[in-house]
């Protein structure tokens, strides 16, 4: 019984899913909301397709989609979605720097949502570009362009050259 599978894995999976959101968003209340959305979406997916296999990696996959949805919603609210559709690739110079972990995390939090999500999936989650593209529902080319712009925005914000827009 697949519902029972989800409940059976719940105790083990809950801290992993919550830990994922807490480290990516930094706010416990938001992490709780996204955790709840993830498990309820998993229950919904199981109801629709009882043959799905419930596993922790599968749940993290659902969690990533919820993270993307969350930042996409924020993006729409901030009216910066137009930037995601831009396929032009600006010039990216080599940046020789050793990133300070705390300052880097702080910088990420100040980025526009569409930049933050791209860098989170590519670098914090260490996903290949193709996987990031699938999660963002973009072409690989558009995703690579987005990553270049995101890295440049990060660099400007890290170095202190102004806000990301």
């Amino acid at each position: 019984m697949d519902g029972a599978d989800l409940l059976a894995v719940y105790d083990r999976a809950l801290p992993i899913v919550y830990g994922y959101f807490l480290s990516r968003c930094g706010r416990p209340a938001l992490a709780e909301d996204l955790t709840a959305e993830t498990f309820l979406a998993a229950a919904d997916a199981l109801r629709r397709d009882p043959a799905s296999t419930v596993s922790v990696p599968w749940l993290i996959g659902v969690a990533r989609h919820k993270l993307v949805d969350h930042w996409r919603r924020l993006s729409r609210e901030e009216r910066s979605l137009h930037a995601v559709a831009d396929d032009t690739v600006p010039r990216e110079d080599v940046w020789e720097v050793h990133l300070d972990a705390l300052r880097a995390r702080d910088t990420l939090e100040r980025l526009a949502p569409h930049h933050r999500v791209a860098l989170t999936l590519r670098y914090l989650d260490d996903l290949p570009v193709a996987a990031v593209a699938e999660l963002l529902d973009r072409s690989v080319h558009a995703t690579e362009a987005l990553l270049v712009r995101a890295r440049l925005a990060f660099r400007r914000a890290y170095v202190g050259e102004g806000c990301d827009d």
Partner: protein, 282 residues
């Protein structure tokens, strides 16, 4: 040259959320996964019982297994029927009907009956010769602790407009309560009292002075002629032969499985003398 961004990599570290959040989410998941709820809304904040129908007046709203040593009973029933417990250890998780534990000298199953109008039901208890506390708020709802006119303790519960889904008559999953047997002193007196108080209607059962309560869930029957009142639960199991072996291995006693018209049952006691049945039902 190493990509400076590679230093951002952060593998996921598990973090325990607030325990109250964990318990609440688990309960929401159980509701969401309820097969009877397949047509219900997916919105997490909408209570599930609207379209499926909640418990009805006269149904059991809650039961509690009264045992001398709760911890011992948790271990015993955990191993025999697979019960899992909430963090406080007082509630059994994953069952179709709220089921708790309570410490008491004598083992019995304590019944809490759901009623539409608690105030009126309290008056009816008193008018019928029983005793009833003034309704008071418990974490789970408005309750009145009562005793009938043969000194059986029970409780009344104000049914929420939106409560939990009405359980199946004989439970659904292993560990669910599938039948309740009230062994009482005077069955006729019992029928008069609970007929008046809870609206229970009775049909003759197969045994001499045995009666079934019509239409309530879980299915309940009463039997007269006993020296004192004891309520004996029957719990569903998937494999009764294996369950009987587990009862004996855990220090309880059990009859061998006995075929019945409705399934296979065994008559058991736990390792504290708590009587219960196991039922492998259709």
């Amino acid at each position: 040259m190493t990509d400076p961004f590679a230093a951002l990599r952060r593998p996921v570290a598990p973090m325990d959320p607030d325990p109250a959040f964990a318990v609440t989410l688990r309960a929401r998941l159980q509701q969401a996964l309820d097969p009877r709820g397949a047509s219900m809304t997916v919105a997490p904040d909408v209570p599930a019982a609207g379209s499926g129908g909640g418990p009805r007046h006269g149904d059991l709203a809650y039961v509690s297994l009264w045992v001398p040593d709760v911890e011992r009973a948790r271990r015993f029933f955990g191993s025999v029927v697979g019960w899992r417990y909430d963090p406080t250890g007082r509630q059994i998780e994953g069952l179709s009907l709220h089921h708790g534990f309570w410490g008491s000298e004598r083992s019995t199953l304590f019944l809490c009956i759901g009623v539409d109008d608690l105030r009126a039901a309290v008056e009816r208890v008193r008018a019928a010769g029983g005793t009833a506390e003034e309704p008071h708020e418990e974490p789970y709802g408005l309750v009145s602790g009562c005793a009938d006119d043969q000194d059986m303790q029970f409780a009344l519960y104000a049914l929420d407009p939106v409560g939990w889904p009405r359980p199946a008559a004989n439970g659904a999953v292993q560990g669910d309560l599938s039948y309740v047997t009230v062994e009482t002193v005077d069955a006729a007196r019992f029928r008069r009292f609970f007929g008046a108080v809870a609206g229970w209607r009775f049909s003759p059962g197969r045994a001499e002075d045995g009666w079934g309560v019509d239409g309530i869930v879980p299915m309940t029957g009463i039997h007269g002629g006993h020296p004192r009142t004891t309520v004996v639960p029957m719990y569903r199991v998937d494999d009764i032969t294996a369950a009987v072996a587990r009862v004996r291995a855990a220090g309880g006693t059990s009859t061998d499985p006995e075929p019945q018209p409705y399934g296979v049952t065994a008559d058991c006691t736990d390792d504290q003398g708590t009587r219960f049945y196991l039922g492998m039902l259709g």
